[in-house]
Symmetry: D2
Subunit: 357 residues, 4 copies
């Protein structure tokens, strides 16, 4: 069991949703990096709850507090530890979850795995709240990558039936990624926002939730980044992305559409452009043989609908071993997809930085 | 760069397509396992080329030769090393690839990454041939898992427009997995074979290739298997699966279909059945919070069409830096999906065994 | 660069001597362990400064504060995070060290490695203060090991010319280890305390420091604990022990005395005793082929004299690149050996627990 | 259990003394290295048995055979796999060891750990023969380090009562290391050879064995090499060195002599020399705070006497659980220290290269 990831940059995440604090330790950061804390806080605000009707009304300041590894705003090269105090917890809301597991949440397997000793309040260590340290670490990593000419950005690709435009895979500019990543509601085509919000609202008023897709891209990666076989960009990124609660699928480039394509359609040819090797298309999402091809890195992840819904559900009582109907109380996100955007960017930044070191 | 995977079971893979030998070292295997070599050879034959018109006509015996770790047919607990001699190589076929990279293959980024020092013959270490050691390690792992009551099986879910039935996610039996895994052409619904073969043949006669999907399942896993955050079944399996050449997407349960689902549709309720907790559905593919839920583990991977096609393609000469038209010669698979089935099973077995240790 | 250690139990340490806080994250602890915090605090007090004339007069409460992973005093199985606030820092004392490295301290190589960005106050992340989280983690690990019948204890084997009795390697009882580990001044033979204190006091009044040896033992280990080649008890423990600042040597059993021994003298024969296999001697310190032999685990580490001494020393100014005489101010330990005893026990406990998991 | 070591350079070792082959896979080597195989073979010959009266008379050609990772004599960047066929095995010699463990050998704990399934012939995977792949990997690593200006060399520091000169820790030149590493009997002071041989011969004629010390040094390391806390040169090297069978202690610089030193004696002052920072002494063996200080890296390891001796020893029969007298037959080294010299150099080279990557 491990909430630690990375080879050269080791990210260790701790905390429970309703415990005293959540946070992380980032081991292996380069020294001498002047951190822009305003930018870090801006990133944290993108994920923080209570900012939008698509999200839970639980408000958390999510203010990261540095414990070590930074001196006068500059990284020292020692492990960077950060904590976020949990300030707004309503313990009562989760009382009945102890013995009646919420469908599709971690409750039941966690109960078995941890013999009932795990902190179930708000999902404990399995809570989506644990993505806040990921956003923090990602914000740090992004600043270091930025200095290396690498930009990462993601957007809400789909919520329910509502779709945003997709990235033009072979023609993504850093400015475009920056722009979408700075929007309050991260879509490329602003007109899709209303439709997406309607999908979420329709779910919310029914006490229901809805899933969606986040598409992410990175430009500026050197050709050949990524290791052999199990240490490739795809292996490393997917392992990191599946660490985000609710992620149930990861695909690169054309992804599952490859199943219906011919090689002659799918192959990305080459040409010489401005004296350099360029790709004629980018169905492979910028990854060939697990290594960056020079084209933009493009992938998408699917997030399932939040399992916490207020409609009555069939469950069981783990003590009496009898069937029971469950009505989940508490404040929940009808759709986690908007808040997942900076999380996907964040873990991508941490992973790419690790590969770059 | 790393062709090593695993925590307690460390699988280290070596070799190049047209080098002297390929093979692997499996470190951390339990001792005292009586290996069934006939069964191992049967698994190797499922992947071996030359057995079917959907595959390359290159024939390789793929006979695994044990170098260490086994005494009198029983594992000793020491590292198990295995080699497969490369017997059938046609070096001439690949001569012109040195400087003219095959589109969508690893050639170009590998050339940049390895400064032209990598073995390009047949893709070198990036060749699909390197999946033979995975099948071997998987065959060993399967036998150990079998003794623990765990069965793994996969089938061709889709090739082009031709689809097989899907696993009935919440009702998969071990015998069903065994049955499909023993078929020469691994489909659940035998009637889909002809349609799939037609798709492959249509591609083949045009010198083209075609993609597809493999769906895999495992039954018998204990509830709660898998670690926290980055050490979950999903993170660990996806990292392993993306190590298979041509895999471009991995999804668990409903996967990308979750994007359009409501929580009330997607959630898997519970009931008491025969005195035990059971799931009413299995949209999550047997994984909740990264841990096994008790329902069958079900996931699918997409494989892109083989990049090696014989139709002329646009490429460049890396020496002259001029555009060039490439016609790939050599013997290639018009569709790697049938041969990928035991590879998907194999790396799944190795990963699950590692998680079980 | 990594302040993380362990395979199944991952200990990640953070903090700087004069930063805001030091602490650690312990990932992978078993759930359901009821922690005895009085015992943990007693262990912390063994290492805490200001308790004895052999140590620095800097007083730190060293009160560990749990951030996560514990609910109602019981481990949850989620990462256990702990912080200790730094309350007593005198920043002025270290001002001149920035550019004039203290001989035999980390200052100079750290300056080069971190380009002058490392926190030099009190040695920053290289400070002996970072051993407090090790003692904390060790106290937790000891309680878990105790429940498995394993007891660890260490004592001051030597300071300067003053020697304590050595453990009777083949006849160590748990009660004996407990007893010595509970002494304020951890020696087996109480009569050696006065002599050792005299050695330290002689160094102290001269503004000098003195080195020594800590001998550590563990009883109750199962036969066969430890992995192959690089994962043995000896490899794993030595890697952990050299993580303690000032440790410059590690030896198991007879250690360097083996150089002068014949095989016939060194070999530990076997006999049947009470129906079980027993060793006739224990020159190997309880480790054969890297695995526990059944005899007590016995090893010793040497700690160099604290490099921080107040006698004038030859150094250089890294800015002017001129020779300079350095007089180190601040409060320092004339001998770190007494305070190192619980640190050696602690990292041993963490390492053995990791091997036991 | 793991015969794998390293972070960026992963060395995976396989084989048993009397199995079909021993060998290794080196993952992560840089590409484009032209290997000098004559030099590799020369290194192998230094360790190979049958060359000297101090060693076993078992003759093995120890010819490394490359399976992958090298093309036209140049590393490709793919995993380098190598095997050495076992040609000279006398299985009969080890028959009675199955149930009567050799004192001080791995036999008894391995029997318990592996439930009697381990290959006991010649110690199986625990055999000193497994150091041949270490020498091979070390020979490869040395060539890469050489190109970076780093030279490694070791010598027999002591056998029994016979001592060689020690390295002048602060004044070691690359040529000196090369010279001693090329000697058939690796001593600095040739006059010590006769005395050492006399010690070995005295043991040999009595069917006994004798221990010793190997001192190793490396020059040319950049200042600041090595990571924090548990990733330091000392932690990493000690973990690797204890992987060599028979090593029972590792010390850096003054090592255990530090116990009797004052800080004023032990501290290594600085001076400006030729415009650069230089050390006035090197009691710390070139490592400060776990990082290279710029002075030569100097450390020593102690090797216990070979446990295999032909004098009768007290042991037990693990089946009948009765005491038994054991007389070990077979060909054994009366002293492994001379043959351990290239092994110590080799694992040092692999470890330093890993830290350099």
């Amino acid at each position: 069991m491990s909430s630690v990831i990375g080879n050269k940059i080791k990210l260790s995440i701790f905390g429970e949703s309703h415990g005293e604090a959540i946070g992380c330790v980032i081991d292996g950061l380069p020294n001498g990096i002047k951190l822009d804390f305003d930018e870090i806080n801006r990133e944290m605000a993108r994920r923080a709850p209570g900012n939008d009707k698509t999200a839970t009304t639980r408000k958390e300041s999510d203010a990261p507090h540095i414990l070590s590894g930074v001196l006068n705003g500059v990284t020292t090269g020692a492990p960077l530890a950060m904590e976020i105090k949990n300030t707004n917890t309503r313990i009562g809301d989760y009382g009945n979850l102890m013995l009646v597991p919420r469908p599709s949440h971690s409750d039941y397997p966690a109960y078995v795995k941890y013999n009932g000793n795990n902190d179930v309040r708000g999902g404990g260590h399995f809570s989506g709240r644990l993505t806040a340290p990921i956003v923090f670490a990602g914000a740090v990593a992004k600043q270091i990558l930025k200095a290396k000419g690498i930009t990462i950005g993601a957007h809400i690709s789909r919520i329910g039936s509502a779709c945003d435009h997709c990235f033009d895979k072979n023609n993504i500019r850093a400015a475009e990624l920056d722009a979408v990543a700075h929007k309050q509601f991260a879509v490329i085509n602003d007109e899709s926002e209303a439709e997406m919000r309607a999908c979420v609202e329709a779910a919310r008023i029914n006490g229901d939730s809805i899933g969606g897709i986040v598409e992410c891209a990175a430009v500026g990666l050197p050709v050949g980044l990524g290791g052999n076989m199990f240490d490739t960009i795809e292996s490393r990124l997917s392992a990191a992305l599946f660490g985000i609660p609710a992620v149930k699928g990861v695909q690169f480039g054309a992804g599952f559409d490859f199943a219906e394509m011919l090689g002659s359609e799918a192959n990305d040819g080459y040409e010489i452009k401005n004296g350099e090797v360029a790709l004629l298309s980018n169905h492979n999402g910028g990854v060939l043989g697990g290594m960056s091809s020079g084209a933009p890195l493009v992938f998408s992840v699917v997030l399932k609908p939040t399992p916490s819904i207020s409609v009555p559900q069939k469950s069981v009582n783990l003590q009496t071993m009898e069937n029971e109907t469950l009505v989940v109380k508490g404040r929940h996100d009808p759709c986690v997809v908007p808040r997942a955007v900076p999380v996907v960017e964040g873990i991508t930044a941490v992973t790419l930085l690790d590969l770059m070191m």
